[in-house]
Symmetry: D3
Subunit: 229 residues, 6 copies
């Protein structure tokens, strides 16, 4: 059986984040799957809100064009930066990590809440959920007000803010699972899961396993409508 070769593209230019995402991805990849982390050199350091998404889109698309030989592409930013455009330039599967997390959460809970970084990122995530239809399964998108690049630090203040939102999600939103709304949160998944006794979903690892599934299945992006080349 042929290897599966996945390009995991972090659309921002923070290479430490790319490395962590790729490492996390490798922990779940099946035998014979290769996960290669990539990021553009010229792109915002973090992606928070609509303007950053716009600025990071073309650099990310260039990386897809430059790696057409890969079997699948993952866009490793929770707002699924440029996902629709990416599907226009390849017929290989392209998976956003936000999208991956929402689909996975839908398989194991009746409803989930998302905990993301800043309030400014919330409307874009809500728009995505609505476009996918998975707003029906999402109880609420919550901002922790922890900036992306502070997540790596994991200080007690940062953790306290995340805990507060997760507790509110369980109590107020009746969430049955939590989706971590930022690629930078991948390291926190296990700890939060065992602390709260409910599934905590990270998009990066969800996307890697979903991309493998799509390749194994033989899935190709449709070329007769919105994703025509």
């Amino acid at each position: 059986m042929k290897n599966i070769d996945i390009a995991l593209i972090n659309p921002n230019s923070t290479t430490s984040m790319t490395r962590k995402c790729a490492e996390a991805g490798k922990t779940v990849a099946g035998p014979g799957t290769v996960v290669t982390g990539l990021n553009p050199a010229a792109s915002p350091a973090s992606i928070q809100g609509y303007y950053d998404v716009a600025a990071a889109t073309m650099p990310m698309l260039e990386l897809i064009k430059a790696n057409q030989g890969k079997d699948a592409f993952i866009i490793a930013c929770f707002d699924d930066t440029g996902l629709d455009a990416a599907r226009c330039i390849t017929d290989k599967p392209v998976i956003g990590i936000g999208e991956a997390a929402f689909h996975m959460a839908s398989l194991i809970s009746c409803k989930f809440s998302v905990i993301t970084t800043l309030r400014r990122s919330v409307p874009g995530i809500e728009n995505n959920l609505r476009s996918y239809g998975l707003d029906r399964r999402c109880a609420r998108v919550r901002a922790s007000e922890v900036p992306v690049l502070d997540l790596e630090k994991g200080t007690p203040e940062v953790m306290a803010k995340l805990h507060r939102e997760i507790e509110a999600a369980i109590e107020e939103d009746q969430a049955e699972a939590i989706v971590l709304g930022c690629a930078g949160m991948v390291a926190l998944m296990e700890e939060l899961q065992s602390r709260y006794g409910l599934p905590v979903i990270d998009g990066v690892t969800a996307a890697v396993t979903l991309a493998e599934a799509a390749v194994r299945y033989g899935l190709k992006t449709s070329k007769i409508g919105g994703y025509a080349g």
Copy 2:
């Protein structure tokens, strides 16, 4: 790396269908994945409409109870027979083939249409789509008026009915992908795909790769809400 052991449960009692589904599933399974086809002895011969779903639910649930050691369960009937109830009796991932097909189709098309068997099955499928939220991505659920057990025969009349609906889906519904709405259609996927030049999604193989993804990811069914044991 540990093997993945998947129970593929056909909720109807037609063993030839179970065998074909399991064979199809094996063609997409990754290295180290075992797919075991199972079906209840006492259950309707085919599942068409709400009453058959009700009659097949408890026998299917008994098979899950009797196979708790498996890593994941697939419910291989397109109406996702008893899916919510199944999630109450195990914390392993449980994937319906209708659900799997809808999620996969959402990853590679802006909208898809479903071609199923009889008109009587349409409202149940529409209800499922609405519950998953994926009605937003589904242009239309179409009945071919081919009964489940006639699909195996694949006569020219059967194929003509399927072709007519697929063509209408592309033209009238502006569908960008086709979901085959019956486990019995798994053998037709490739032929239809190459005939029409757009992705044709089969639920059985979609579910096998999705179940592998869920296991590899470490996904557990939430136990704090609707799926509490």
Copy 3:
């Protein structure tokens, strides 16, 4: 004018609950209407969540089959156990008590909230509301965390929990009416109504009057689509 003969089927096996439901039903039935309480012998003692619904469905359907001479059937469990399947095996009207309560509440309030038993029952009720379309009129489904069989006891603790949720429904949800989300709550309707000065709707009595209406009207279940036999 011919008598109207209604089978009121409690899908669980707790006969004291069946008796209370039938008695409540009789208090609202018109002249010449006979209400007969029935329940399966082998069925869960109470129905809380998706698994219990699955377990209670076939026994309930057997009772409909065994009573085909009745003029209408009521399914006296708030999650409308097996309602769609029931409509496939008779052309007589079949009314669920959840459904009946939602329709009645829609006639006299702009929005209503539902107070049910356990959190695990909420997603199924929400799914039903969505399927009927009446989620548009439902502000929220609230779990009181009182188990079905404790409702009969009516202890001060039980009442306090119900009061708390009703008060929250009026204040937070802006509910204009309350739907009692369990057949076991039928005895509480009047007291709560006078305590809070707003309509409190019970499904059992709602269903009896609605079933009479359907019979008087001459309503038959459609047999050309989802409910074809």
Copy 4:
């Protein structure tokens, strides 16, 4: 048991229509129920579109005020003229015939289509369906282009137009039941039902049985929100 005294108010000023509606209502009323047909003297001769609705509203409301002793009120125009306002001036149940037909149709079919008179009436009916939530169960609202007052004539041309729309509803909309979208169609119900072998719902008779149900149940309009006096 006390008699039930229902005021059936035709909001237009065509007394022949009032008489026919009241007669139809009496055929389904239970023992001890009195149905009194009323209409304003100064009101449009027929109600077709938003302006007629506006013109007919206050005269209809005056009739409710002048008949406060009745047990329930029916607004016998398919666009449910002034229904929300009517609920502000009485705590007795007020039922619109459009509303009644939609609720009844929801009880016996997965989806229904409405056949009404002129295209100009369609948006108002669609707005009502959306407000009630029952657009989820309505496949389509179809205009037959037969004006209200021509319905009484029942010429072959009139019948041909109705037949064409019903056939389209069954084939194209996959409707499982037909709702007749005008009080003037009440006499056609039986003939159409037997011609097409599916339930054909008339609002007038539906509303009478629903009003009886509401009274028997003891239903009162909520006075703490949108219907406060």
Copy 5:
């Protein structure tokens, strides 16, 4: 360039409110635009809830009929009294102030909350939002429990109630803009805007500029469907 002649119709009979609305409208009108305030003599003094809307509709429509020479009509009551009916009797643009405010707020915020007067007005506003589709952009409609005619007084108690709701809208609803849900609030816009640092939208001035836009554009009301004369 021809002058633009706008009739600003306050559907209630409180002339001081009409005068204030017209004055507010003039402050935003472009060069060459004339805004004439009008109100019916016989109409409710304020419009709070569905019954008042019904009572004010025909008097308002009479004013439109009596002023057919105007270039555009504004209905200066936040519940958009009789808006659909008004569009049936003229092909000039007719703009409701609720509608105008919702459209404007949609242009500069991802989501907004509405602060209106009494709880009884909330369901009608919610119905309008749903009919326009702009409920998708509205986080919540909040009642301040300040009656319309108390707004003019602007006492500290009145202001405190408004402040409380605006603060809740920003914190709880994540509103990015506030819509003032009553024509009587027009004088408060600037003060609230500078106090809270977010856009505060008033419907009267929004409608005047929108009516100018519609006239300048040459917009005519469609006459082939719901607004046919």
Copy 6:
């Protein structure tokens, strides 16, 4: 009264289209309004589908940054290229021509259909409608299969394709107004309007009058949520 200075930005690089849009805009602008047409030098020649939108976004945003002194910005491409991102870099009103056309059409029709260029543009337009909420008022988005740059030619073949879709919109969709789904269609508005006797809405002129309205009103983009700078 101060002049209003509007930047009309065509995000593609076809200057003849920019010139035509600006000229069309000037025909509806009020006294004292200046409309300046701008386009990026390096951008796709036309924008058809998601990839072109991505490629045109940053060049368009650069033009906004370089023209911060303007009073309002119009994005003159029917897919509202980069609209959300644009609102993050200015607090002046930013109006998309698709958005403007949808809002205008909502003011004068119960439902409208959109006629756009290629099928590949349809999903993006549908996504925008859903995000604005105005999908509720849009009956259907139709592709004429006329490429953007062929529209200028206006050959009989081009016109025949547009006519066919407009006729289908009126008959099949029950559309009451037509929205022209491409900036290049601005010259066709009047002819189509008089041919079909219903409002035909062009986005460019709609946006100019809406931008004037926003400026006259004093509208500022909110800076506390999704559009924070």
